[in-house]
Symmetry: C2
Subunit: 174 residues, 2 copies
């Protein structure tokens, strides 16, 4: 078993999947990971829809230029914010991000690849109408899931130094 940091740094977006289905108990573990994310005032604004039938999967795929990723997926996780349970949109968006990251990490731990798709939000209204989402549900992410097939792209990040806020310069001579 990997340590957490290794799991985090080795995780990659997977965009090509084999045909193998994901067992329901594994989907449940992935959702469970999302469920245990932290949120402000513990309001848990995330809501999940699991799409594992061809009709809805291909229907959703039509709303993004990355449709091929979705069409190949064994399942697609639709992540929404329940705006009726939202208390601060910015904090709730961060909480959703935390829940999604938990799910990506758990999927990886189960040998399941994932791809967090954001471009599809350009067709937010259309997806919501297609999926008949309740008016309180704000569609905020789609996550394609499936067993990886083929090569996965190498990850790349800015060096840590570039991410650090330099607050004050310390005089190295003193």
């Amino acid at each position: 078993m990997k340590d957490i940091l290794t799991a985090i740094t080795q995780r990659r977006s997977v965009r090509s999947f084999g045909r193998k289905k994901i067992a329901p108990q594994d989907i449940k573990k992935i959702l469970e990971a999302g469920r245990w994310a932290p949120s402000g005032l513990n309001n848990q604004p995330w809501r999940f829809l699991v799409i594992d039938d061809d009709k809805r999967r291909d229907g959703v795929a039509a709303f993004t230029k990355y449709g091929s990723v979705i069409r190949r997926a064994a399942a697609v996780l639709i992540v929404c914010m329940d705006t009726a349970d939202s208390y601060n949109r910015e904090k709730d968006l961060m909480a959703l991000g935390a829940a999604i990251q938990n799910m990506l990490l758990e999927a990886q731990d189960l040998g399941i690849g994932s791809c967090w798709l954001g471009e599809i939000l350009n067709k937010k209204k259309e997806v919501a109408a297609f999926l008949k989402l309740n008016a309180d549900l704000d569609f905020l992410a789609a996550v394609a899931l499936g067993y990886p097939e083929g090569k996965t792209a190498k990850g790349c990040r800015k060096p840590l130094q570039q991410l650090m806020i330099v607050h004050e310069k310390k005089d190295s001579r003193c």
Copy 2:
């Protein structure tokens, strides 16, 4: 070593810390976990400031009613969005949430407790001025870090069933 799901479900906010300092290499591992979060277009909008001196720590603590958590912390991680590197605020907020969650999980894996603080954002401008943050930096979270002391509260979440979007009722008789 725990599996990821156990790490995720057992993680708790820690609000009381001992006096033990956190080794710089452990702080670096925590930041490294944040650095490897996913983001839309891989834009990596997160920026980090580590506060480990009493003066700034206590100064920041004064801006929140949860100041006692910060005053006890061995270090405080200030997480900002670099608005100059932001391409979509909602997606970038979710990315920051993913980065923060990675850091909470890595801290826990190192035996370090953490508390993600949001109430302090009510004094966002004051904190930014006190820390002399560049105008491009939007302060979005403070994370108190330290070795846990005393009991940690039990976690509680809504049951999974309550989080699932019921899209269509399947007729169980067919």
